[in-house]
């Protein structure tokens, strides 16, 4: 049933959609102005939704057109979705603010890269809000497609052949992911005649149809999330995009499909025995955390290193499946996994923005030639170092908090095996962060081609400070992200 204030959920999606339509129709400089003008509106909407959810302690639901599911479509904000909306509303405007110089529209004209960047950035925001709020599996398919169509052009925005190849590979993986997801949706509709997550969650049984559908949908979502071994598209795509786009792609976009995987396993299939598939997802995640970190260690370019680090950090997210699905310590696993989502979003966005500042200032991003760069760009290397702290999982940082929760979940459920990737990945992360910082802090004279923009450095620093501040999240925050999460057996917490 629709609750008071539920309209806000629709407006959270429609505001960036309106921005897209206006920007496209007006063209030219309007796109940038509209994006920056609507950013505060988006933040206020996200904050207000979070406040309403926290205040009522229950999910906020809106039935579009006053038409209830199964025939109509509902939007539903629970603690998890409200949190993700707020994170998006902080990171997207930060990336927009950072990108103003690079994507400034020439006087009296319109440029290819600027118009594309500003419109696609708004489209990512609209798509992510819909991913977080959608409660209908087909509506979520549309959201996934919006996300793909917004993200792919950002990868090849500078037009070099290798970026075009990276974008094309990304597109093909994403399309495979969408169609595999859609096939699962078709089967679920054939079995239950509804695609509403809440209604399905009440009806679902462990039939071959359901398991086939779940496998297909999960495979599709993993391809889009770039979980090992479907990760090969990610590093070239994220490393070749402009820094502001990389920050959004790595920090937020891959979390969109991950969020839907959570929705599928913890909201649609909560009553089923999911221990075995959850363990498989955890194992893939563990491999990703180790394998991605090892590959990150071997990269010669900073942006590629940071991109491979994303492959590794995505791995931790999937440890959430075995840990949060366990009867004992499940709440700890849920909190730890979510903390990892948030910490990585802020830390990785900050690191990509810093890598962009660095590449602009030095004219390259080859790590071997960073000798002495920390003296020339102290603020940027401070941001990289603090972001690295969170990736390694050292206190005080959101990354530490996440791993601490996950390790306690391992202990509570007796699944010690998952401690191996958590700790091993942390050590390897220490290795690759050291590889960036050691030459920069050492001797040498780098040639600074252009002095870094202080405003860009401060945006990145601001994001990394949030990643650290997450370490001090109070206990009610973890209660908040559990609002509306069904418990095994069909009850709601």
């Amino acid at each position: 049933m629709t609750a008071p204030g539920g309209e806000l959920l629709v407006f959270a999606v429609l505001t960036p959609v309106l921005g897209i339509l206006l920007s496209f129709a007006r063209g030219g400089r309007a796109a940038e102005a509209i994006t920056l003008a609507l950013a505060p509106v988006g933040l206020v909407l996200a904050g207000f939704v979070a406040w309403l959810v926290a205040w009522s302690g229950a999910p906020l639901v809106y039935e579009i057109g006053g038409l209830a599911p199964p025939l109509g479509i509902a939007l539903r904000a629970d603690g998890a979705s409200a949190t993700m909306m707020v994170v998006t509303a902080l990171i997207v405007p930060a990336a927009a603010f950072y990108a103003r110089e690079k994507f400034a529209t020439p006087q009296g004209g319109e440029s290819r890269s600027a118009l594309t960047f500003w419109i696609m950035l708004q489209a990512i925001w609209a798509a992510l809000n819909l991913v977080f709020l959608g409660s209908d599996l087909f509506n979520l398919y549309v959201a996934l497609e919006l996300l793909t169509f917004a993200a792919v052009p950002l990868v090849c925005i500078d037009g070099r052949p290798e970026t075009l190849a990276a974008a094309l590979r990304y597109l093909l993986f994403a399309l495979f992911g969408s169609i595999s997801y859609l096939l699962g949706v078709a089967l679920l509709y054939g079995g239950y005649g509804t695609l509403d997550i809440v209604l399905l969650g009440q009806k679902i049984e462990g039939t071959p149809l359901v398991w086939t559908a779940a496998a297909l949908m999960t495979a599709g979502l993993l391809a889009k999330t770039a979980l090992f071994p479907l990760h090969i598209w990610l590093p070239p795509a994220h490393a070749n995009a402009p820094a502001a786009a990389s920050a959004v792609l790595s920090g937020l976009v891959v979390k969109g499909s991950f969020f839907l995987a959570l929705r599928l396993w913890f909201y649609v299939l909560p009553g089923l025995p999911i221990a075995a598939p959850a363990a498989l997802l955890g194992a893939l995640g563990g491999c990703a955390a180790l394998f991605g970190s090892i590959l990150a260690l071997r990269q010669a370019r900073l942006k590629l290193l940071v991109a491979y680090s994303t492959v590794a950090q995505i791995g931790y997210l999937f440890l959430m499946f075995p840990l949060a699905a366990a009867p004992a310590g499940g709440a700890l696993g849920w909190s730890g996994g979510f903390m990892q989502v948030l910490a990585h979003a802020f830390a990785k966005a900050a690191m990509f923005l810093s890598a962009g500042v660095l590449a602009e200032a030095l004219g390259h991003d080859r790590i071997a030639q960073f000798g002495g760069a920390a003296r020339a760009l102290p603020l940027t290397f401070l941001t990289l170092g603090l972001g690295g702290l969170s990736l390694m999982g050292l206190p005080p940082s959101g990354g530490f908090e996440a791993k601490w929760f996950l390790l306690r979940a391992c202990a509570a459920s007796g699944q010690w095996i998952w401690a191996v990737p958590i700790l091993g990945g942390g050590l390897l992360a220490g290795g690759y962060v050291f590889r960036i910082l050691a030459p920069a802090l050492g001797d040498g004279e780098v040639k600074v081609k252009a002095s870094p923009r202080r405003s860009q450095e401060l945006v990145a620093l601001g994001l990394v400070v949030i990643a650290l501040a997450l370490a001090f999240a109070p206990e009610n925050f973890f209660e908040f992200i559990r609002i509306g999460r069904p418990l095994a057996g069909g009850g709601a917490s």
Binding site: L71, F138, Y141, V142, E145, T148, F149, V152, P153, C156, G159, R160, P161, E162, L164, A165, A166, A167, L168, R169, L171, L172, L175, F176, S178, I179, L182, L183, A186, L187, Y189, G190, G193, I232, P236, N240, A300, R301, K303, A359, H364, D365, R366
Partner: protein
Amino acid sequence: MTPSVLAGLVGAALVGLGLYGLISNPHPLRKLLAFNLVGSGVFLVFGIVARRGAAAGFAFDPVPQAMVITGIVVAFAASALAVALILRLAAASGKVTLDPRAWTKPGEGGQ
């Protein structure tokens, strides 16, 4: 065998054929064709679900059919974007390979 069961089996075969082509064919345009085969197979599954849901005087359940119409549009838009990328890639570099090794130049910084 009713037409809808037959169509379901055709859908399954198309998904299988397309998946095979998508993985095994190196040419991106051929991959795109294969993707479209998978897509139409998936739409057929929606189609038989709709046909089986015939009730209340309708020969079909309208909801899955509406979803197919939405899906066909999206699949076409995706094909158009992929074609644009493929043509531009071929024109800019003379290569249409997706092999990552073809695009890494040792010692090149990029950016």
